[in-house]
């Protein structure tokens, strides 16, 4: 007992000596029954996670089968006709709605998140750094349904005049129209922008923390102003990481359900402009599941929509993780030859 508590004290003392290299004892063969049990138990647990995901995928495909055989996969996502009463399910309006709202979320959310991350890491007074970080993270603590509630009863009515003014003034721009529906793509995108802000900002901060201070100091020593230092040292270095962060935000935005369901209008048509009503893949599942429970083809179509959503987020997240990891791990390579920006 005593020995162990001493060891723990030692842990505290040597707390800074965390190295990347973990020497040979990782390969030390465990001896004795409890060791083997623990090792195989934990390995089985880890394997269980993989099995679970495989089963997950299998089950979704299995249950979506009626819809897949009737509408196909490509046909399903490209047909612009979602009509529950005729039992015809073409998910193009949903896919388009998901993509439009996510794009709006990225356009608004990413610049703000990156600005906030830059301000917190480089410009703000040291005393403000911790509180600002906590506040930005608190944005992630507000549940989706609460953002939805706020969107319905505050954002939609309060923003309507501003949207109408914008629609009238900038009517000549593509995808901007004069008619403003209460719930619409733009409101959904705006709520999504708020919801992806914390994660994009947190990962951007993490990536920026890996910029070597040599580079920053070198820029400052050459007489660069703060902004020039940010532009010449920090941004090129962390470009790949910021792209990855944006992609992760995109993954979140695509899959976000409840808030979007409440503010997108739930009209299964492709809107002509950003102030039109629409629908998204996730929202249709949340909304129609109750009524679909007893109609096998409707249910299968919703599950196929879920499958499309799943694959879409897998792709986006897979690419994002790869980009972020490369940005964080392959630091030097990224500094020498900035990776082509993905997603932004």
């Amino acid at each position: 007992m005593q020995r162990e508590s001493d060891l723990r004290l030692m842990a505290a003392d040597s707390g800074t000596a965390l190295g990347g290299s973990r020497p040979s004892f990782g390969r030390l063969l465990p001896s004795g029954l409890p060791d083997r049990l623990l090792k195989w138990g934990l390995t089985a647990l880890a394997a269980g996670v993989l099995v679970l995901i495989a089963y997950f995928f299998y089950k979704l495909i299995d249950q979506a089968q009626p819809a897949i055989s009737k509408f196909g996969v490509w046909g399903f996502v490209t047909t612009n006709d979602w009509d529950v009463s005729r039992n015809i399910y073409g998910a193009a309006p949903l896919v388009v709605g998901t993509l439009i709202t996510s794009a709006i979320a990225l356009l608004i959310g990413v610049p703000v998140a990156v600005a906030a991350a830059l301000y917190v890491t480089e410009l703000c007074p040291r005393r403000l750094r911790a509180p600002l970080t906590v506040l930005l993270e608190l944005l992630a603590a507000v549940p989706s349904v609460v953002y939805g509630l706020w969107g319905v009863f505050v954002l939609i009515p309060k923003l309507k005049p501003a949207e109408e003014w914008f629609g009238r003034t900038f009517d000549f721009l593509p995808f901007v129209g004069k008619t403003v529906a209460g719930p619409n793509y733009f409101i959904a995108g705006l709520i999504l922008a708020i919801m992806i802000l914390p994660i994009v900002s947190a990962i951007t901060r993490e990536v920026m923390a890996t910029v070597p201070s040599d580079h920053k100091e070198a820029a400052l020593a050459l007489g660069a102003t703060r902004w020039e230092m940010i532009r010449t040292a920090i941004l090129p270095y962390s470009r790949a990481g910021i792209s990855g962060a944006a992609m992760l935000g995109l993954g979140r935005a695509i899959g976000e359900t409840i808030a979007v369901t409440l503010v997108i209008g739930n009209a299964p048509t492709i809107g002509k402009q950003i102030f039109d009503q629409g629908y998204s893949l996730a929202a249709v599942i949340a909304n129609e599941f109750g009524e679909a429970a007893n109609v096998p083809i409707h249910r299968a179509a919703l599950i196929e929509a879920g499958l499309v959503l799943f694959v879409l987020t897998l792709l986006v997240n897979g690419i994002a993780r790869w980009v972020v990891n490369r940005g964080v791990r392959g630091r030097r390579a990224a500094a020498d030859a900035p990776a082509p920006a993905v997603g932004v």
Partner: protein
């Protein structure tokens, strides 16, 4: 560019000032929604708070007294507790495997990748999956039930617990493990008596944040536990929850139901904030992170 760096011209100084302003502006813009959400929650939510609000179940009446949110609070606590009981041991177990045995092995990196993938799976897809496997198939009893909601929440929380636990376990210095092993302690004792206790504060923080995340989720619950009016301790029954209650009330064109949604939202956000604060306090006690 490099030639001009030696002296700071007025133009460059102005650019610097403007860009600093822009970055500060971005930060303020980022915080506006937080302030507004909290302001409206307090303004509209506090009004519907009363003893009656917390001590009575929803009546289900569209007109007249809508009742309170007792069953929703109880249901959320029960389901999230069960979800935590499932996901925290498994999550920490997987993290222990990754850190203590898997390390850089191929299998471990595959597991790590798929845990990351799970983090990105939309919560509604978890809900669908549980609906298909547990509600629809009738395996282990058909129909909606609170424990099925818990399983959906547990799936959602599992990757969060695993990733945060892995980070914390990696911070436990190797010298500590080596010292214990050199003293002749077997591997399992090292893990249980040295590694886990050292990492405990961090593990608690990660778990509490996962719980906070699970408590706010609506999508996995609406077709696993659905809605109910009565309070119940039986996880085999349909079960109410704060997010599902709010989601349902928002859609009603009735001021008192919407008022209840605001009150419930304020309650939910406060619960989650408390969890977040406790989580942060726990990590402050940590000696390694």
């Amino acid at each position: 560019m490099s030639a001009g760096l030696a002296t700071i011209s007025a133009r460059r100084r102005n650019t610097d000032r403007i860009m600093r302003g822009v970055l500060l502006g971005g930060t303020i813009v980022a915080l506006i929604p937080l302030v507004l959400v909290l302001y409206y929650l307090l303004k509209k939510g506090l009004g519907s708070w009363s003893m009656h609000f917390f001590t009575s179940d929803p009546t289900g009446n569209f007109l007249g007294d809508p009742g309170g949110i007792k069953s929703a609070i109880l249901g959320t606590i029960e389901m999230v507790a069960l979800a935590a009981a499932i996901s925290i041991p498994i999550g920490i177990g997987v993290a222990l495997y990754l850190v203590e045995y898997g390390r850089e092995s191929r299998f471990a990196s595959v597991v790590r990748y798929f845990v990351d993938v799970m983090t990105g799976v939309p919560s509604i897809v978890f809900g669908l999956f549980i609906y298909i496997t547990l509600v629809l198939s009738g395996w282990l009893g058909s129909g909606f039930a609170g424990w099925k909601g818990s399983v959906a929440l547990a799936l959602l929380m599992l990757p969060i617990v695993t990733r945060s636990a892995e980070v914390v376990l990696l911070l436990v210095p190797d010298s500590l493990r080596e010292a214990a092993l050199a003293l002749g302690a077997p591997r399992w004792r090292v893990m249980l008596r040295v590694v886990l206790p050292t990492a405990l504060p961090g593990l608690i923080t990660g778990s509490l944040l996962a719980i906070a995340r699970g408590a706010g989720e609506t999508a996995p619950l609406i077709f696993t536990a659905t809605l109910a009016n009565v309070s119940t301790l039986d996880l085999n029954q349909r079960m109410n929850s704060l997010p599902a209650q709010i989601f349902n009330d928002v859609g009603q064109a009735q001021d008192r139901l919407v008022g209840r949604a605001w009150g419930a939202a304020l309650t939910l956000v406060l619960m989650i904030l408390v969890l977040n604060i406790v989580a942060r306090l726990a990590s402050r006690r940590s000696r390694i992170a």
